[in-house]
């Protein structure tokens, strides 16, 4: 808790408490504390601002300034932070759950990079902010308030686990969807989404478009077909399957990395081909 307050400071806070959330404009404060000189009042307000007991807000209606008492927990949170720390904190707060990059922070605050790094370290140590790695820019760390949940764009949505693309998870879900569609004969998007939700495959909640991407991938894999029915779009097992093997790739030439460099009399030739050797080694 803040140090002891003088009587003038107490009086200012008293007025602020009286007006609650709306905040107190300077004129109102003057009116309420008419017994106090302007200088004494200013001294008290500055001191309170320094001690983080009072905060200065802008009234969006007429852009006038209003004073408001800082609630006790917040006051404890910000205790001992300087103006620069607060400046950085406020910019981070403004960036919401998208976070802000240190370069952008530098531009907005006009502070030097090493200084910002130091300030961020302090804020991080006090668990006021946290650093999050963005999936779109793996090398870029962004900062946001400690209590916020990072945005979907930052974490990559349901398909990322700890910033790594979770291919296994996707594979398992796709298999499950495919099996469900096979068993059901024909299924709609809602059916598949409901099935996944009921079975609880995913810890994160999957949105309809997440399930749609799973189904789309199954279609691209050539495993299912999309059909138009009266009740809407349905999915079923692919009627036309892609052949399991191809005569072209059954022979080593079909997937040979040096196919284009191979000539009958060259250094690479079918006669001396190591892939053939391996293939014909019974």
């Amino acid at each position: 808790m803040a140090g002891r307050l003088s009587s003038t400071e107490e009086a200012v806070l008293e007025v602020c408490r009286k007006h609650g959330n709306a905040g107190v404009a300077d004129a109102l404060l003057q009116e309420e504390l008419h017994h106090m000189t302007m200088q004494a009042r200013m001294m008290a307000i500055n001191s309170l601002l320094n001690k983080h007991r009072l905060t200065l807000l802008t009234n969006p209606a007429d852009e006038s300034l209003v004073y408001k008492e800082v609630i006790a927990e917040d006051a404890a949170k910000f205790k001992g932070l300087g103006t620069e720390e607060m400046l950085v904190y406020q910019h981070i707060q403004a960036s919401g759950n998208y976070g802000i990059w240190t370069k952008d922070l530098k531009m907005k605050t006009n502070l030097a990079q090493p200084q910002i790094t130091k300030l961020l370290k302090v804020l991080e140590q006090r668990s006021l902010i946290k650093a999050i790695k963005s999936v779109s820019n793996a090398n870029r760390k962004v900062y946001m308030l400690y209590e916020l949940e990072p945005a979907r764009e930052l974490t990559g949505g349901a398909w990322y686990t700890e910033h790594e693309y979770d291919s296994e998870f996707i594979e398992v879900l796709q298999q499950a969807c495919y099996q469900f569609i096979l068993n059901a004969g024909e299924a709609s998007l809602d059916d598949v989404a409901l099935f996944i939700k009921e079975k609880g495959f995913s810890k994160v909640e999957l949105r309809a478009d997440d399930v749609m991407s799973l189904i789309n991938c199954l279609e691209y894999d050539g495993k299912i077909d999309r059909v138009e029915r009266e009740e809407g779009e349905m999915f079923r097992r692919a009627l036309l399957e892609i052949p399991d093997t191809s005569a072209f790739t059954n022979v080593p030439c079909g997937s040979c990395p040096v196919f284009n460099d191979c000539t009958p009399d060259g250094a690479i030739s079918p006669n001396t081909c190591v892939y053939y050797q391996k293939w014909l080694d019974f």
């Binding site: 398909w159 693309y165 291919s167 996707i170 991407s213 799973l214 789309n216 991938c217 279609e219 691209y220 894999d221 050539g222 009627l239 036309l240 399957e241 892609i242 052949p243 399991d244 093997t245 191809s246 005569a247 072209f248 790739t249 059954n250 022979v251 030439c253 079909g254 997937s255 196919f259 191979c262 009958p264 030739s269 079918p270 006669n271 081909c273 053939y276 014909l280 019974f282």
Partner: protein, 556 residues
């Protein structure tokens, strides 16, 4: 055309070398390298003595590996220039040598008939004789087949004759084109400007028009005579008063009526003996093409719908003129049912009549891949025709997809099909929609680009084409991928053959011992002998399978 790719030429030369020896190979090589040429040019190009070239050419022509045209140069001012012969390599025919075993199987299979108890062996032997010898006269075919079947008696000859008539009637045998056929004009692009009005008499245009008319006449003559049954055969049959005789008596009467004194090539008794017959590989390929269509439709829509398509295609087969027909001939349901009945009667084990033909035809028409379509209203009701080229294209796409999966894995297939279904996309969109990390996606796309399966297009935002201000979109190069595969298949076939030769050469000693009937094969030889047996079996099987793909990508 992949027929004219260097790999196809290599394969063609090696096939000729294997069958007809080094001289024919050299002649074939010169023909392939320099295209259509006269004998003089061929002598210069090949560097062989004239006598050898003449013999080599004769062998190639006899085996339908070279085509002869008679060229009439435009007459000069004073004297008419003498005509001379031009020789062209029949690359497609040479390459189809690989397909001979399939042709034989096809013929045997086509003529199995449960009703008449026919097993197709004689038909197969006739085709085998012709495939071995290239082109033969009727008498030669009968003699060689009778010898092969050891049925040299009068009865055996009669039965062979009857089978030859079947094959001719079904267009599986054709008359070899005469040597004085004019050379067909190179195909002109359909957008090429056409001249209007009649050209001035004596002008170059008039001369070329005359040449064109003469060529058309010769082609028409050949087209008329191509499947004309020899009179001797028909008369024999009428005398014998058999079923087949009755069948063809009608066509003979019609022919006489039409011919009516006109000279039809091969029609006169004296000429008939000199007419050479050969296997019509186009017809064989057409039947294989139809079988590929039916296989695909059966896979997608089940046996009943497949059987309906098979009946439609069987009915359409005799009327199709080109191998790569886009559509089948249109038939009403009644006619399709008749064709289905014929198939079911002939092969009760292999063909089952669809329970509800109307439903099957409707299913074909309503399929989202447009397998068939409804034509006009005819005297027998609504007509249906199959969308053959569309079905073959789907077969090709499926084969390309299988290759993509083998080469680039399941994710490669996913990206390929995504692009095939969605058209043109950016890298980020592809990664998102295919649910894969951007880095992997980029790597995969560039590998596929290098292999020629996908294409990349840049759409610059500014005139300087700076990469940072340019969109890069990816798309599937379906036609290019199919063409690439078509050429690579020839290369692969050539590689398989080269390897097979190499393996055989390595074990020559052991093989010679076995062939020489030497009973004392040492214990140490058993291992290599077993191995070479396996190796040749594997390689030859693969070669046949690759040829089936070659057919799909190059000939169908």
């Amino acid at each position: 055309m992949a027929h004219n790719s260097p790999y196809a030429h290599q394969l063609a030369c090696s096939l000729i070398a294997e069958q007809f020896g080094p001289i024919c190979e050299k002649v074939c090589q010169a023909l392939l390298r320099h295209g259509v040429q006269s004998l003089g040019e061929l002598i210069r190009n090949s560097g062989l003595p004239a006598g050898q070239i003449r013999n080599g050419l004769l062998v190639l022509i006899q085996h339908n590996c070279a085509i002869v045209y008679q060229h009439h140069p435009e007459p000069g001012l004073r004297v008419a220039a003498a005509s001379y012969y031009l020789y062209e390599p029949a690359t497609a025919a040479i390459l189809q040598n690989l397909r001979k075993p399939r042709f034989l199987l096809l013929v045997k299979d086509e003529y199995v008939n449960a009703q008449t108890g026919e097993d197709g062996t004689i038909h197969e032997t006739i085709v085998e004789v012709l495939l071995e010898n290239g082109r033969l006269t009727l008498e030669q075919i009968i003699l060689a087949t009778a010898e092969k079947l050891e049925q040299t008696g009068e009865e055996g000859r009669a039965s062979i004759k009857r089978r030859i008539m079947h094959l001719m009637h079904d267009h599986l045998l054709e008359q070899a084109p005469p040597c004085d056929m004019p050379r067909p004009d190179p195909a002109v692009h359909e957008n090429a400007q056409k001249r209007r009005g009649a050209p001035k008499p004596g002008s170059q245009d008039a001369a070329s028009q005359e040449a064109e008319a003469a060529r058309k006449l010769a082609e028409e003559d050949y087209a008329k005579a191509r499947f004309q049954l020899p009179r001797a055969l028909i008369l024999d049959e009428i005398d014998a008063d058999t079923e087949a005789g009755a069948l063809f008596a009608a066509s003979e009467r019609k022919r006489r009526k039409l011919g009516n004194g006109q000279a039809v090539p091969g029609g006169e008794g004296s000429k008939e003996g000199a007419v050479l017959w050969r296997v019509n590989t186009d017809e064989c390929n057409r039947r294989l093409r139809h079988a590929a269509c039916v296989r695909l439709v059966t896979q997608k829509r089940g046996t009943d719908v497949g059987a309906a398509l098979a009946a439609l295609l069987a009915a359409s087969c005799p009327f199709e003129t080109k191998l790569k027909e886009h559509f089948s001939v249109e038939f009403a349901e009644v006619d399709i049912l008749k064709a289905a009945q014929r198939l079911a009667d002939a092969k009760p084990e292999a063909y089952v009549m669809p329970a509800d033909m109307t439903a099957c035809l409707r299913e074909l028409v309503e399929d989202d891949l447009r397998l068939a379509a409804v034509g006009g209203e005819g005297p027998n009701g609504t007509g249906y025709f199959a969308n053959e080229s569309n079905i073959i294209n789907i077969v090709k796409v499926k084969e390309v997809e299988a290759v993509v999966r083998e080469r680039f894995g399941a994710l490669g297939l996913r990206v390929f099909r995504l692009l095939l279904l969605s058209g043109q996309l950016e890298q980020k969109q592809i990664a998102d929609q295919a649910m894969m990390p951007l880095k992997d996606c980029r790597e995969l796309l560039y590998r596929m680009l290098k292999a020629g399966f996908v294409g990349l297009q840049d759409i610059p935002k500014t005139a300087d084409h700076a990469p940072s201000r340019t969109f890069y979109t990816w798309r599937v190069a379906a036609k290019a991928a199919a063409d690439l595969l078509a050429a690579e298949l020839y290369r692969e076939a050539h590689n398989i053959r080269t390897r097979l030769d190499h393996e055989m050469l390595q074990q020559r000693e052991v093989l010679e011992m076995v062939e020489g009937g030497n009973g004392h094969i040492l214990h140490t030889h058993r291992g290599p002998l077993e191995r070479i047996k396996k190796v040749s079996a594997v390689l030859e099987t693969c070669l046949l399978q690759v040829d089936a793909l070659i057919a799909i990508f190059n000939d169908f």
